[in-house]
């Protein structure tokens, strides 16, 4: 098979599908025609894509938590709690890490153990094990739009089961669920496997069922410069659109400098629209998601609330369509449902308070928008060139060449040559641009920013500076200055 950004044929898709549904016994319960009919009964208020479109139209920023536990009834209770006590607009189902590695046998054991222990021993909801019937019970027991959130390189069976079960939104992508989530799975394979997922969503769309798709924006979640995540997001948007996906949400993880964060959302909206239209996908509805700070959090809950609130403020000022919310337990692992609801309520308060003051396109924002766009264009155009006009094969070659590169990625398929660091104002820049195909102007810009910081701190830029930045927010700062 040669990887191409080309809509799969009917025969190709159904050929693969036959295999996929046999990966675990619950696959046998998937029936596409019946699933379409099931989707037709889902009311609009529980429909993810429709809710996003409405929010975009009204200039709203919707709140969404992360949450998932091993057992069905507990998971239902958890989501209902986040809906009522957390006032969440959109609901997730976070999938456990064994499912993400297709270790369904481990899931089965952990479900057993969780029942015995009376608490979840899994960090998410094992949807494949629960099967279509389990998922439908969930969908019917929860009064809100539901999205699958995971981190699964090969998610094909999970996609089949959760969509047949009635989920109306699905996170992930062939790059964004490989590079940060796998060590030794080739990009060629994950991009190919995710074409399957996108094609399935496309087929639903062709049957009148609109399912929202969301590439995973923050990647490794740690000092990822906007141009990197934007390039991946736009490529995955294009790959999804080619397979027939019509409703796409592109994401970005907060960096922490307000001007850069506001600019990142604006640049993402504008560039994605431009590239999708330019490459022939003009009928997609695009929305944006802003992730509250994805790096290390302070352990103290009061301080965590401050970090959460700053993320909420940036999301609201940037007018992202939705915001993914952290919790005051972030530094300590998976939160209680009460802590999760508190993070949501704090976020809701700030989003509502700031709803009437969209951030204007100040000169400072404009500079950042132009910089992010120029950087992202360099990468995207080179990826397209490396693929001889194909973003799928181009992406594989681009990662090999370091033209696409994600800082701190666990994957062997990321060159891991770039190194980010903050500038004096806390904006994330590149202290090593690696092989990114930037113009000399852009390279000089980054160098000047990092040099200015190094000078301010009286030290050379080094990996220690990067480490200081990684720990900074958990220690109460944005820029990891050396101790005086």
């Amino acid at each position: 098979m040669e990887l191409k950004n080309k809509k799969w044929t009917h025969d190709h898709f159904y050929g693969v599908r036959e295999e996929i549904l046999k990966h675990w016994p619950t696959g046998a319960d998937v029936n596409f025609e019946e699933a379409v009919k099931y989707h037709e009964t889902i009311p609009a208020r529980k429909h993810f894509a429709k809710r996003l479109v409405k929010a975009k139209k009204n200039g709203e920023t919707l709140t969404q938590p992360r949450a998932g536990v091993a057992l069905l009834d507990e998971h239902i209770n958890l989501l209902n709690f986040l809906r009522t006590e957390g006032e969440a607009d959109l609901l997730p189902t976070t999938i456990d890490s064994y499912t993400r590695q297709n270790q369904y046998e481990n899931c089965a054991n952990a479900i057993e153990e969780s029942m015995k222990a009376g608490r979840s021993l899994l960090n998410g909801f094992p949807a494949v094990n629960h099967g279509v019937h389990g998922v439908r019970k969930l969908v019917e027991s929860v009064d809100g739009p539901l999205q699958v959130r995971h981190g699964t390189p090969d998610a094909r069976l999970l996609t089949e089961i959760t969509l047949a079960g009635g989920f109306t939104s699905y996170e992930g992508g062939g790059i964004s669920y490989n590079i940060p989530y796998a060590k030794s799975v080739s990009l060629e394979k994950t991009i190919y496997d995710w074409q399957y997922n996108d094609r399935l969503v496309g087929i639903y769309a062709e049957h009148g069922i609109e399912i929202n798709r969301e590439p995973f924006g923050p990647l490794t979640g740690t000092l990822v410069p906007p141009c990197i995540s934007h390039a991946v997001a736009i490529i995955e948007g294009i790959l999804a659109a080619e397979q027939g996906v019509k409703n796409i949400t592109l994401g970005y993880g907060q960096c922490g400098n307000l001007f850069q964060d506001v600019a990142a959302i604006k640049a993402l909206e504008q560039l994605a629209e431009e590239y999708l239209v330019k490459h022939g996908y003009s009928d997609c509805v695009l929305t944006t998601v802003f992730h509250q700070w994805m790096g290390g959090f302070p352990q103290d809950e009061a301080k965590a609330f401050a970090v959460i609130s700053w993320g909420a403020a940036a999301a609201a000022l940037a007018k992202a369509t939705k915001v993914i919310v952290k919790t005051p337990h972030e530094a300590l692992g998976i939160p209680t449902k009460e802590a999760n609801a508190m993070g949501l309520r704090a976020t809701k308060q700030l989003i509502n308070m700031l709803a009437d003051q969209p951030f204007p396109m100040t000169a400072e924002v404009d500079i950042e928008v132009e910089m992010i766009k120029a950087e992202t264009r360099c990468i995207l155009d080179k990826v397209f060139e490396l693929g001889n006009g194909d973003f799928a094969s181009g992406s594989v070659r681009a990662f090999e060449a370091g033209v696409l590169d994600v800082p701190f990625a666990p994957s062997q398929y990321s060159l891991n040559k770039i190194l980010p660091a903050r500038d004096n104002n806390g904006a994330v820049r590149l202290f090593d641009v690696g092989n990114l195909p930037f113009t000399q102007d852009i390279i000089d810009f980054h160098k000047a920013k990092i040099d200015a910081r190094a000078k301010e701190e009286g030290r050379k830029a080094s990996f220690q500076m990067v480490i200081d930045d990684i720990y900074a927010i958990s220690k109460g700062r944005l820029v990891g200055r050396p101790n005086k």
């Binding site: 021993l121 060590k183 790096g295 300590l332 998976i334 209680t336």
Partner: protein, 138 residues
């Protein structure tokens, strides 16, 4: 010269792919003069043991950030003993269980599993380096 360095095995256990801390620990232990055999993320127990045998490492440093640590880490000490690594130092740290839990209990549980040191979230690499040097009499 390289051969004089004490070797340690580093890795993130189980189905966990949290890479950032792993890269920082790698840097910290290398800077502190150890030779780090970094297995990266998504490391099964047998890979830790095999690497320790192959390299004659003095310690295995296990990280688990995603909450499944309790399941993933169980039995590693036994596996070490069976492979003749009985007294190798076993450290573990991270967010070891699902949910916010009293660390005293978590600590007790992992000590009983045979780990020599158990670290709570938020511990900085420097502390682990100091402890390892102490435990190895360096």
């Amino acid at each position: 010269m390289e051969n004089n360095k004490v070797k340690v095995i580093l890795g993130v256990i189980g189905a966990d792919c949290h890479a950032v801390g792993n890269k920082i620990l790698n840097y910290a232990f290398t800077s502190a003069g150890f030779e780090v055999v970094n297995l990266g993320v998504l490391v099964p127990q047998e890979e830790f043991v095999n690497a320790a045998i192959e390299t004659d490492a003095k310690a295995i440093l296990v990280a688990s950030l995603y909450g499944h640590g309790e399941i993933d880490c169980r039995g590693l000490r036994e596996r070490c003993r069976e492979s003749g690594l009985g007294d190798i130092l076993l450290y573990v740290g991270g967010n070891l269980v699902v949910g916010k839990t009293d660390f005293t209990e978590v600590h007790k549980k992992f000590i009983e599993m045979g780990y020599d040191r158990v670290y709570e979230p938020g511990i900085l690499p420097d502390q682990v380096v100091i402890d390892l040097k102490n435990d190895l009499g360096l």
